[in-house]
């Protein structure tokens, strides 16, 4: 047994059976972090739109990989991974080359044209509402990375606003447990408390 502190492993999960393409997560993210128009840290993607029986929607952002490809390819080594698994980056080191976009399997990196998120061209992406390398909850951190809700013990904005609770975020143990509970109650002919009013 090890006696090290048990860090969370933060993960997103989006249930495509529940996602209704309402874009609540997208707007919540943008409002919370004052993201410039055109930058989409989170996107809802619908495939087969309008094709009967084949339309699927899912909300996507940085997946905060354990072995993050973006970190491996970055020529300036601007990425760092927190003990809880959240992948962040330092915009002061970023040169906006776009190599991370080559590596990312999900299309998460965004490249602002201008605006509040630093100099033109620096990469921006989902921080899982955990800010960045500047002093926690400082003005500088907000200007470059947005809110740091994790430091305040709050749920990231996207999942907290999800109308159907398709989008979950948190310690992977908790997220998987919710999924397990949902699987167990599936098709049982029972009603359970709402996942949020």
């Amino acid at each position: 047994m090890n006696n090290k502190p048990d860090f969370a492993r933060m993960k997103f999960y989006c249930d495509e059976n529940l996602c209704i393409d309402c874009n609540g997560c997208v707007v919540a993210c943008k409002e919370a972090h004052e993201v410039p128009v055109g930058v989409n840290r989170r996107k809802v993607v619908t495939i087969n739109e309008g094709i009967v029986g084949q339309e699927i929607s899912v909300s996507m952002a940085c997946m905060h990989c354990a072995d993050a490809p973006c970190q491996q390819v970055c020529p300036t080594d601007c990425f760092y991974i927190r003990a809880d698994g959240i992948v962040l980056h330092d915009k002061d080191k970023c040169i906006g080359c776009g190599y991370c976009l080559f590596a990312c399997p999900f299309g998460a990196p965004q490249f602002p044209k201008d605006g509040a998120f630093g100099t033109k061209g620096k990469m921006d992406k989902c921080t899982m509402c955990a800010g960045g390398p500047e002093e926690t909850n400082s003005h500088e951190e907000f200007e470059k990375y947005g809110q740091n809700r994790i430091s305040e013990g709050k749920v990231p904005m996207c999942a907290s606003m999800c109308s159907t609770k398709a989008l979950l975020v948190g310690d992977a143990d908790e997220v998987t447990l919710i999924k397990t509970y949902r699987a167990v109650s599936k098709g049982k002919g029972i009603a359970t408390e709402a996942m949020g009013w």
Binding site: N17, L18, I20, D21, C22, N23, G24, V26, V27, K30, E31, V37, G38, E49, G50, I51, V52, G53, E55, I56, S57, S163, T164, K165, R182, S185, K186, G187, K188, G189, I190, A191, T192, E193, A194, M195, G196, W197
Partner: protein, 744 residues
């Protein structure tokens, strides 16, 4: 609905949908318009194994989550439902004992459905008969199933028939009055239920009391004003008791001279518009004309009403800035009759004022402030909004508001976490009460009624039968419910009339004291301020409004039973002869309205060969006045468009993302972007209802007062929606219109 079983409101509630084994979503798109309700629908599907059946002309985001999707032509809902009822009858899925005990007039429905064979339904609606059979089988064999609808049903010339037949469909299956069943009408936006409860309608006083002398006298008492003074405010007693112009029809009171005869010989001269997006009603070009012609126009809104930009009038128009919901406090009522308290977060910013402050100021300047606030009973020293909330609770006895005092509503809101979202039941300090005291909430001890017409609960715990509203007997048939079908714990094992001072002793099996008798003399459950009649009824397990049968026949309507009638501008003129519109109506909400003559004025489809499907999109609300002023919502949806099937677009020579002109059957035309989409069929164009600020190709941005223009603009779809109003309610027909598309 009110004409079927007594109340026109959602019968169950949103969390209750999780108890359903099948859900029909018909003329509604909750994934876009009620995302939170969608959570419960999807939970019913996942956990309860409910089949989700979506019937809609457009393959919506909601339809994408369905098990069965039936695409029908707009305006053919009744044909589809009669097809369902016929199948239900022929397969013996009818709940015979429910009908025998609690329904009047079902035979006529079973006769009418005869002609709607699956083949005929396929011809009328365009939906393959196999899907009709599949949908009906899934719904009828599920126990219980709920029915959800929305403006896709109400905004039609036959909207009132749609909602009635939907109610009747649930009666045939015995799905009423039970958890997981019911008619769950999703209201169009926040607090609509409360608006109609409080009488923001052209034909009733608050609480649906009607406009008769008795109703006015009752309210003059509740408002602490003299009846004759009240009468003196009107031009005549006749006008006092006449329905007003409705939201759909007021423009005709301005523009058409002939309607002056219905309006005390005068055209409408002034308009005060408080928080209403009047460009969401049809024929916006007529709205513009009417606004231009009025002597005075006042808009009271937090954002600039787009109609103020549409009009080209030069003078006598006023924009009064109103506070938003976070700058004010008071109750808000959800779609399911539950109330919640809203607390003021900040004082109104800048020049904005709370609605009541603006209205108080009007009353002061017009000289009736003292009378205006008299109902609260404290002269000018009242506490807002608590005293007003309590006045409402006291006055709206018809819908059982007596228990909804400010104190109780606040207690529920503050203890929000103690309630179960599926049953609405409370714990701890609110044990045995239902969240938000869903009306009817008969007394200050009553817990509220989460599921209407449920006879498996005592009245004191939210149970009741159908309301006795249409008499006790009709053509020799009993209109009261049969023996054995009364709420549990009832002194009377069957039907009974509404409670009055005359029948209370006999029905409740009690003797009133002399003082009690004196207090209730001449009163009934709707007018008794002493509360004795309601208290004694509930003690005896009786619903104050009686226990009667739901009815399928509404003898005071043009269509005694719901009938399919082709839209005025029908895509299928060959069916018009078989299913014609009603005759033109005189003085329908003070307006002479064309039905038959409009339908036959020309063969519309020749010049306007494309059907429109209209609806809201998830990013925007109403006219988009508020949401189009949000940067991020404007980013997601920044421009008006029309969804066109690629095959149709190809025929018309319009490429994806090109601009196209849409010409309506009226004089309106709009220039919008063509968006290729498989959501619509090959005869239709989908037009979102949420845009404004562009007028037939011209931007109106420069007309906004400095700094008030929203981020996104677009043509209003209602410039091309056709003439047409519900034959009973006068709700405008936004759903069935024909247009012509041309490459711009």
């Amino acid at each position: 609905m009110a004409n079927t079983w007594g109340y026109g409101a959602m019968t169950n509630h949103i969390g209750d949908m999780q108890n359903s084994k099948a859900i029909i979503i018909f003329g509604a798109n909750p994934a876009s318009n009620h995302p939170i309700a969608m959570q419960h629908i999807l939970k019913a599907k996942e956990q309860n194994g409910a089949k989700i059946i979506v019937i809609d002309p457009r393959y919506t985001k909601t339809a994408a989550k369905s098990d069965v999707y039936c695409r029908i032509r707009t305006g053919t809902d009744i044909a589809f439902m009669y097809g369902m009822i016929r199948l239900i009858r022929d397969n013996n899925w009818v709940d015979k004992s429910f009908i025998a005990d609690r329904v009047y007039g079902m035979e006529d429905i079973f006769t009418e459905c005869e002609k709607f064979t699956p083949e005929h339904v396929e011809d009328v609606t365009g939906c393959p008969k196999e899907l009709l059979i599949q949908a009906t089988t899934a719904f009828a064999t599920a126990e219980p199933g709920c029915l959800i609808w929305n403006q896709g049903w109400t905004q039609h010339t036959i909207g009132s028939s749609n909602t009635r037949l939907g109610s009747i469909l649930q009666l045939t299956l015995g799905n009423m009055g039970k958890p997981g069943g019911g008619c769950n009408i999703l209201r169009g936006h926040d607090n609509v239920q409360a608006s109609t409860d409080l009488g923001c309608l052209a034909d009733t006083l608050p609480g649906y009391y009607g406009l008769s002398e008795g109703s006015w006298k009752y309210f003059s008492k509740q408002w602490n004003v003299d009846y004759d003074w009240l009468k003196g405010r009107f031009k005549s007693k006749k006008m006092m008791e006449s329905k007003g112009f409705s939201l759909g029809l007021w423009i005709h009171g301005v523009l058409e001279k002939e309607n002056a005869a219905n309006n005390a010989d005068t055209p409408l001269k002034a308009l005060v518009c408080i928080g209403n997006g009047i460009s969401t009603i049809t024929q916006t070009h007529k709205v513009k004309e009417a606004l231009d012609k009025l002597d005075l126009v006042v808009f009271i809104d937090p954002f600039v009403n787009d109609a103020a930009v549409i009009t080209t009038r030069g003078d006598n128009m006023f924009l009064l800035p109103a506070a938003t919901q976070v700058e004010t406090s008071g109750t808000v009522v959800n779609t399911a009759r539950s109330a919640q308290w809203r607390t003021k977060v900040v004082e109104p910013l800048y020049e904005a004022r709370e609605d009541q402050e603006i209205l108080f100021d009007f009353a002061k300047r017009m000289g009736f402030y003292k009378e205006y606030v008299a109902g609260m009973g404290k002269g000018e020293k009242f506490t807002w909004p608590e005293d007003a909330t309590n006045e409402i609770a006291r006055s709206l006895k018809t819908i059982g508001f007596q228990g909804r005092t400010a104190e109780r509503i606040k207690k529920h809101t503050e203890n929000w976490h103690l309630f179960d979202s599926v049953s609405l039941k409370g714990k701890g300090v609110t044990e045995k009460e239902y969240y938000g005291l869903p009306w009817p909430c008969w007394t200050e001890k009553h817990p509220g009624s989460p599921v209407l017409y449920n006879i498996n609960l005592p009245v004191s715990q939210g149970g009741m039968g159908f309301r006795n509203r249409f008499g006790t007997e009709r053509n020799g048939s009993d209109l009261l419910s049969a023996k054995g079908s009364a709420p549990v714990g009832s002194k009377i094992d069957g039907g009974y009339a509404e409670i009055t001072y005359k029948n209370i002793e006999e029905l409740a099996g009690i003797t009133l004291t002399a003082a009690e008798k004196k207090a209730v003399e001449g009163k009934n459950w709707k007018t008794d301020d002493s509360g004795i009649l309601v208290d004694k009824a509930i003690e005896a397990g009786l619903a104050p409004y009686g226990n009667a049968r739901a009815r399928t026949i509404v003898w005071n309507f043009i269509d005694n039973i719901p009938k399919h009638r082709e839209p005025l501008h029908s895509f299928r003129p060959d069916l018009v002869k078989q299913y014609p519109a009603v005759k033109d109506r005189k003085n329908h909400y003070r307006t002479n309205v064309r039905y038959e003559s409009e339908q036959n004025a020309q063969e519309w489809v020749k010049d306007y060969p494309i059907n429109i499907v209209s609806g809201r999109i998830v990013e925007h609300m109403g006219t988009g006045t508020e949401t189009r002023a949000s940067k991020y919502l404007a980013e997601l949806s920044g421009e008006m468009y029309g969804e066109v099937h690629p095959n149709l677009a190809a025929k018309l020579g319009i490429k994806d993302n090109e601009m196209m002109w849409v010409y309506g059957t009226g004089e309106g035309k709009i220039k919008i972007r063509c968006k290729y989409s498989l959501r619509v069929d090959e005869n239709s164009v989908f037009l979102p209802q949420n845009f404004s600020g562009v007028w037939s190709g011209e931007s109106l941005e420069s007309k906004y007062p400095k700094g008030t223009a929203p981020y996104s603009f677009g043509e209003s779809s209602n410039q091309v929606t056709s003439y047409g109003y519900d034959q009973q309610t006068s709700c405008p027909e936004t759903k069935c219109s024909l247009v012509r598309l041309e490459r711009a």
